[in-house]
Every structure is written in structure tokens, then in C-alpha cells.
């Protein structure tokens, strides 16, 4: 099923699949908090590997070659963010493949849960954009621990009709505009939420802040709290609220812009003057994968890296794809309409603030929790 058709079908009822999945994920998280040992993923048969990924990245269109070869999709588990995925795996949830973003790879590598990947087994590896293959923190001792598949931005999605003064003045500052009190939203996460406050408060390197910069970030979060309608967990929440006018602006990823545009909503995606955030996500093979499934594991990764997947992802989600050849298949007008200023990720990724591993995550999370509790 086409992603837009799906959205349309669910648009009438307010309960969307995403919300529903998210809800189930929360319940699942509660379950794995109990030390119960390993848990089998729900879904397809036991012959297939288990893939833990972001909501929306599991759809059959993104691994068509795998289905063509093996008849059906692998087992899928969804995470809302990498922290949730990490907590689940530490609690004993066995997965074969995950799809985190680069800023998490150093920590996961330290935790010893990542397996080096044999790129010679991936037929699409030579077509991957070269600069994505060597992102710092993803290669150790010359071994590849990460296969880049998706890249995109974190920026502000807003309603130009409701906030016209920002059309020629695109800035993260809209999220601190008291005029829109109660009509703003931000991601309930460190990398897409707290880092926005760090950028706004002028931290030189948001991902490795000094104590003074931390204090300024906390002040910015406190200042923003009364203006926030909700911190979002699922992109659907923020998309629906923007569509209804409940929200004027919120942080999102590119796919929310692509989705809302294709549904005909009047939204614009900012290129903030402080810089948008950019990210690269991709595959990791976990150390406790099932060795008997290793061929299918590589087949799945290779299928996702294909040109067909890339074209679908670019046109439907508005994300960049790791396969450079995929861009050649999409006409420049479509690319421009989706907000791609260039088909070369180096241009796009270089123009923004690239998300890298955050120093002292526990302190950042404690700060965020304290602000939410009123400190």
C-alpha cells in the first residue's frame, strides 16, 4: 500500500496506525523492563531475521528485493528512538538488525553489541555515496560497523499562513515566540529536542557543551516549556496538530513535510538561519544475531540499499538515500519540490549541523526531565 493512501485511509478516523504502533511499543517497553530473558518478536516465521527500526521504515516497499527472494517480510520490531531500542536489547530482546543513526554508533560499539559488516557481501555497496561510508565513529580498525541507508534533516515545520512573519525569517526562534504560546511542539528526545535548545541558545558545539552552555540550554528549555503544547513522540501527532491549526510550528523530519505537502496542507519546512540539523541512519548487525540467518540478514540490508528502494524513499518520504544512483532516477523538479537543494548528500549534510554523538547524555536527560518537572 502506498504511504499516502494509507494516511488518507486513516485520516478520517483519528486513531492512526502509527499512534497505535507507538502505543503498542510503549506497552512492549513496559514488558521488557521486567527481566524475563529473551522475547520473540511478533509476526512472521522463525526462519526470518528480526529487524528493529523506525516506524515507517519497515514497509515492504523498502525491501522489495528481499520479499522477491524470500517470499515475505522479515520479523519487524519498531522503536520510537534509539534509547528505547538500546534499553530493550539490554533487557534481553534479541534482534539481528537495527537501523540507528550515526550519533549512536560509538556508544553501541562500546557496549559491544555491534558486529563488523562484510561489505563484499552487499552488491549495492559500490554505489553508496563515498563520503557516507567513512562517517567518523562508524568505522573501527578499518572494519565497517554501519551501512548508511537514509539521511535527512531535523528542522521546523510550520504553517506560513499562521506565522507569516517567519516566511522570510526562518529561525529556530519560532519555537520560543511567546506569541504562539501553547501552539508549539518539540520532539521529546535529546538529539532532536534538547539539541534544538542548545543551538538556539548559541552553544558553539551543541553536542559537546561546556557547563556554561549547558546552563544556557537549560534556561532556554525552561523559557520554552510554558509555550509548548506537547513534546511529541510520534511524527503523526505533530502532523495532525499542524493540519488542524492546533500547532503553528514544531520540529519534524523531512518525511512529515513530504507527507503533509502531498496531502495538500499549507506547510513550509524551514532552513533556519542557525542551520538545520542533518543526520544519517543505517544498518547495524548485532553481535547476538542468529548465525543461521546471516544470509538473509545480508539480503535484507542489500535490498534496502537498492536503487528501487532509494527512489521510493526519496519520492515518498523526502529523505535522502545512501545509494547515489537512486538520485539519477528521480527528475530534478521532483527533487526540488521535496526540498533537495542538491542530490549530493555532501552539499546537504555539509550545510547543516551534523548530528554526532552527544557528550554526557545522562546529564542532558536529567536536565530535560528536571525542566519538565518544573526546575
Amino acid at each position: 500500500m502506498n504511504k499516502d493512501q494509507l494516511t488518507e485511509k486513516l485520516a478520517t478516523g483519528k486513531m492512526t496506525r502509527r499512534q497505535f504502533n507507538k502505543a503498542l511499543a510503549s506497552l512492549g517497553a513496559t514488558m521488557v523492563m521486567m527481566p524475563m530473558g529473551s522475547r520473540m518478536a511478533l509476526g512472521a516465521s522463525e526462519d526470518h531475521p528480526t529487524v528493529m527500526t523506525w516506524e515507517g521504515w519497515e514497509i515492504p516497499e523498502l525491501h522489495g528485493d528481499y520479499i522477491a527472494k524470500h517470499g515475505e517480510s522479515p520479523n519487524i520490531a519498531i522503536f520510537a528512538d534509539e534509547e528505547e531500542a538500546f534499553a530493550k536489547m539490554r533487557a534481553g530482546f534479541k534482534v539481528d538488525i537495527t537501523q540507528p543513526c550515526t550519533y549512536k554508533i560509538p556508544m553501541w560499539y562500546d557496549a559491544g553489541i555491534l558486529q563488523p559488516i562484510d561489505t563484499s557481501r552487499l552488491s549495492n555497496w559500490p554505489d553508496i555515496t563515498p563520503s557516507l561510508k567513512t562517517i567518523p565513529g562508524t568505522v573501527y580498525d578499518g572494519k565497517q560497523y554501519f551501512i548508511p541507508t537514509d539521511w535527512g534533516q531535523t528542522s521546523v515545520l510550520y504553517r506560513p499562513d499562521l506565522a507569516p512573519e517567519y516566511v522570510d525569517n526562518e529561525t529556530w526562534g519560532i519555537l520560543w515566540d511567546p506569541k504562539y504560546k501553547g501552539r508549539l511542539s518539540m520532539s521529546d528526545s535529546l538529539v532532536d529536542g534538547v539539541m534544538v535548545a542548545a543551538i538556539y541558545s548559541g552553544a558553539e558545539n551543541p553536542f559537546d557543551m561546556t557547563d556554561a552552555e549547558m546552563a544556557k540550554t537549560r534556561a532556554a528549555l525552561k523559557e520554552q516549556l510554558p509555550l509548548i503544547r506537547f513534546y511529541w513522540d510520534s511524527p503523526t501527532e505533530v502532523e495532525q496538530a499542524l493540519a488542524s491549526g492546533e500547532l503553528v510550528a514544531g520540529t519534524t523530519w523531512n518525511d512529515s513535510y513530504a507527507t503533509m505537502k502531498s496531502e495538500g496542507h499549507n506547510v513550509a519546512y524551514m532552513s533556519p538561519k542557525e542551520g538545520a540539523m542533518t543526520w544519517v541512519c543505517g544498518f547495524c548487525i548485532m553481535t547476538d544475531h542468529d548465525p543461521a540467518k546471516i544470509d538473509k540478514i545480508y539480503d535484507y540490508i542489500d535490498a534496502y540499499m537498492s536503487v528501487e528502494t532509494g527512489v521510493y524513499e526519496i519520492t515518498e518520504y523526502g529523505y535522502g538515500h545512501g545509494n547515489a544512483k537512486a538520485f539519477e532516477q528521480v527528475d530534478p523538479q521532483t527533487l526540488a519540490a521535496l526540498g533537495f537543494t542538491s542530490s549530493n548528500p555532501d552539499d546537504m549534510l555539509g550545510s547543516g549541523i551534523f548530528q554526532v554523538a552527544m557528550a554526557n547524555e545522562p546529564a542532558l536527560q536529567a536536565m530535560f526531565d528536571e525542566v519538565k518537572a518544573g526546575y
Binding site: K14, M107, L225, R229, D369, E370, A373, G374, Y375
Partner: protein, 302 residues
């Protein structure tokens, strides 16, 4: 041959022992439940308790005894404050749930004459769906373009949707009060149903008004049900984290969210365990206080 004899002799001996000793018979009878309690309840609690005295360093636990987590619990204002807030919200939920459940239980117990079972089943109907679906249903009810707002708008009472309905502690109370209603109605109903009707007649015969009969006979006699209902609602809602994270908005966090954050994003399981232990102790203390209070009330009216 010889073997068979000794075997049956041992079996006989064991059987004798089994029949003679009351504790052995008792424990055997209990064993399935007891084992489930040990493995499902006691052992996880021991694990949690132990964990709370360890420390987290990046990805590893420091497995030496330390009170640092508990010190932090009291030194940083956030934990006590959020715990008190959770207790306040749960207290409000409990009061709201019991107040709403009591008339409903009273109606079924005293006014419904036939097909009581149908009424009881009807009360449980909303609870056939998942807990999360009910929380989402309230999101739709209270939402910006939700049932209440669009209803009031189409009736002409509103021009702009009311934003205060959702994403605040009040919406958490409303949602939880509905989500746990059945757990309050059923125990109250049972205790009302058990009341000897002749006592009520006696009360009226002796000249009490209907209201005074209720206060002096029905209410004290139904207190066990009210107490059970209060505990059934209060205890689980203190630690709830799904509802506040879905309908609570930016300031709606409760102690369950902090614990979840410690086990999730913050990657500090020992601290999460310490918060859980403190939360359990506080709830236990609250319940002790509550039971003591209701006990002295019952003594006073009796």
C-alpha cells in the same frame, strides 16, 4: 523384588508424613501459587532492591554497596516533588473514581431488580478494549478538534476550540478515573449487595431519614468495598506512565515517567531502581495511613 518392597515402603512412609504433618500438606497445596509468587514477585523485588544500591558508570554497573542513589533522591528536589505530585494526582483520581463509582454500584445493588448480571456485564463493556485504546479515546474526546470541542463549536457555544481540555494534569485525572472505573464499581457493588436489607428497614422503622440511614447504616457497611476500590485504583495509578506521557502534556510527568526515563534514555538502571523502591515505600506508607484512618472511622460509627 527386594527393591520394589523398599520402594513401596518409602512411598508409604512419605505418604504417612504427608498426611500427618499439616504444614507439609498446606505448603503442597500452596506450592503452585507460592512458586509463582517467589519467581514472579519476590525475586524481581530482590533484584530491584539490590540494583538500587549499585551505581551506573556509562554502560556498566558498579557492584559495590552504595547509598548514593538514595542520597541523590533526597538531595535533588525533582524526585520528591514529582513523587508528591504523582500521589496528589492519584489521590484525585481515586476520589473521583470512587465518587463516580459509588452511585453506579448503589443503583445496581438496590434499584436493579432483575437481570443484574446484564448490568454488570454492561459496566465492563468499555473494558473489553485495551487500556491504551481507552487512553487514546480520551485524546479524541478532549482533543483540539475532538468530540467535546467540535460538539460545542457546532452548537455555537464556541468559536475557538478550548485548548485547556487536553495536555495537562486534569486530563490525566479524567482519563485515569475512567480507565479504572470498573475496578471501583465491582468491589463497591459486592459490599453493597451483601448488606442485610432488614437493617435498612429497621433504620427507617426507627425513624431515621433515608439520608441518615444511608450515612449510618449503608455507608459504614459498604466501607470494605470502598477501601478495596480505593486501593485498587490508587496503587496502580501512582506508577502509571503511559497516560501522563500521552495526555499529560509538557508538564504532566509523573514518577513512572522518571523511572522509565532512568531505565530508558538516561541509562541509569540503579537510580531507576532506587526511585522505584522509594515510590513503593511511600505508597505502602500512604496505604497504612489510609487503612488506619478508615479503621478508626469504622470504630467511631460502629
Amino acid at each position: 523384588m527386594n527393591n520394589a518392597v523398599t520402594l513401596s515402603e518409602t512411598r508409604l512412609k512419605l505418604r504417612k508424613l504427608f498426611l500427618k504433618s499439616e504444614p507439609v500438606r498446606g505448603y503442597t497445596l500452596l506450592s503452585p501459587t507460592l512458586l509463582a509468587m517467589i519467581f514472579g514477585l519476590a525475586m524481581p523485588l530482590v533484584v530491584l532492591f539490590t540494583l538500587s544500591f549499585w551505581l551506573q558508570e556509562y554502560l556498566d554497573f558498579i557492584r559495590t554497596f552504595s547509598l548514593a542513589n538514595y542520597l541523590e533522591f533526597f538531595q535533588k528536589p525533582i524526585y520528591v516533588k514529582v513523587l508528591l505530585k504523582s500521589i496528589r494526582i492519584s489521590g484525585m483520581v481515586t476520589i473521583a473514581t470512587v465518587l463516580l463509582a459509588y452511585p453506579m454500584a448503589y443503583f445496581i445493588a438496590f434499584r436493579v431488580k432483575s437481570n443484574k448480571l446484564i448490568w454488570l456485564i454492561l459496566i465492563t463493556v468499555p473494558f473489553w478494549t485495551s487500556y491504551l485504546l481507552r487512553v487514546f479515546a480520551w485524546k479524541i474526546m478532549l482533543g483540539y478538534n475532538g468530540v467535546i470541542n467540535s460538539g460545542l463549536k457546532s452548537l455555537g457555544f464556541l468559536t475557538e476550540p478550548l485548548a485547556f481540555l487536553l495536555y495537562n494534569p486534569t486530563s490525566v485525572v479524567i482519563t485515569l478515573a475512567h480507565a479504572w472505573a470498573a475496578f471501583a464499581i465491582l468491589p463497591i457493588y459486592v459490599s453493597l449487595e451483601k448488606i442485610d436489607r432488614s437493617l435498612l428497614e429497621a433504620g427507617r422503622d426507627l425513624g431515621e431519614s433515608a439520608w441518615m440511614t444511608f450515612l449510618r447504616v449503608t455507608l459504614p457497611l459498604s466501607l470494605p468495598g470502598v477501601i478495596a476500590a480505593s486501593l485498587l485504583v490508587f496503587i496502580p495509578t501512582v506508577g502509571d506512565y503511559v497516560t501522563p506521557s500521552l495526555v499529560g502534556g509538557p508538564r504532566g510527568i509523573m514518577i513512572g515517567n522518571l523511572i522509565q526515563s532512568m531505565f530508558g534514555q538516561s541509562q541509569n538502571w540503579p537510580m531507576g531502581a532506587a526511585i522505584s523502591v522509594m515510590s513503593m515505600f511511600t505508597v505502602a506508607a500512604m496505604i497504612g495511613l489510609f487503612l488506619w484512618g478508615t479503621h478508626s472511622y469504622r470504630k467511631r460509627v460502629a
